[in-house]
């Protein structure tokens, strides 16, 4: 049974690290700021949660603190990315040429 949890925890750790890598890769490869926010924050949130779950499988006695960290990341990460995107939109960041819809400008008349 301990062997099973070792294997599960290790696989979760590697999966989480791979999602973190994809987040970093998206941060480098995406064309404009809003796509970078999209790629960076979503993928890294899932990657961090998977990494924490993997450590919980390997060290069950740390479960409560890891659960606290996971909940905190799950609640604060979308807030910070949304505030960043709104601030960038209001301060006039240019979108990429392939972007064809801007709902914030349509609804509130805020020029990007």
């Amino acid at each position: 049974m301990s062997m099973f949890f070792d294997l599960l925890g290790g696989l979760l750790l590697v999966c989480g690290a791979a999602f973190l890598l994809f987040g970093g890769l998206g941060l480098v490869r995406m064309p404009d700021l809003f796509n970078r926010i999209q790629a960076g924050t979503k993928a890294t949130t899932l990657g961090t949660l998977l990494t924490l779950a993997g450590v919980v499988c390997l060290r069950p006695e740390w479960g409560f603190k890891l659960l606290l960290i996971g909940l905190f990341i799950l609640f604060t990460n979308p807030i910070s990315s949304q505030v960043l995107a709104r601030a960038a939109h209001r301060s006039g960041t240019k979108m990429s040429d392939k972007t064809c819809v801007d709902k914030l400008e349509e609804d509130f008349g805020e020029k990007p």
Binding site: V14, G16, G40, G54, I73, L84
Partner: protein, 86 residues
């Protein structure tokens, strides 16, 4: 057997940190740098938790929690500054 997975995961997290650091250094605008900083701190939390597991010290988890809290406040403050400025 878990050690092998830990070291593979630590190597991948290191590469992710380097990619985010590249965007942090190169980023054309200030907002790009703030996004890169946000991603860097989130990846660093995973790195701190991995370090806590390798060292076997539970006290590092408190460091990760406080780091998450301070980085969230920092990103919110800089976003407020960006919104007001320019």
């Amino acid at each position: 057997m878990a050690e092998v997975f830990i070291y593979i995961a630590a190597a991948i997290v290191g590469v992710a940190l380097l990619l985010a650091l590249y965007r942090f250094v190169k980023g054309p605008s200030d907002a790009d740098r703030v996004v890169a900083f946000d991603v860097l701190t989130i990846i660093s939390i995973s790195a701190i938790v991995l370090a806590a597991f390798v060292e076997g010290r539970g006290i590092y988890l408190d460091v990760a929690l406080v780091y998450a809290l301070l980085s969230f406040l920092g990103v919110i403050a800089v976003a407020r500054y960006l919104e007001r400025g320019f």
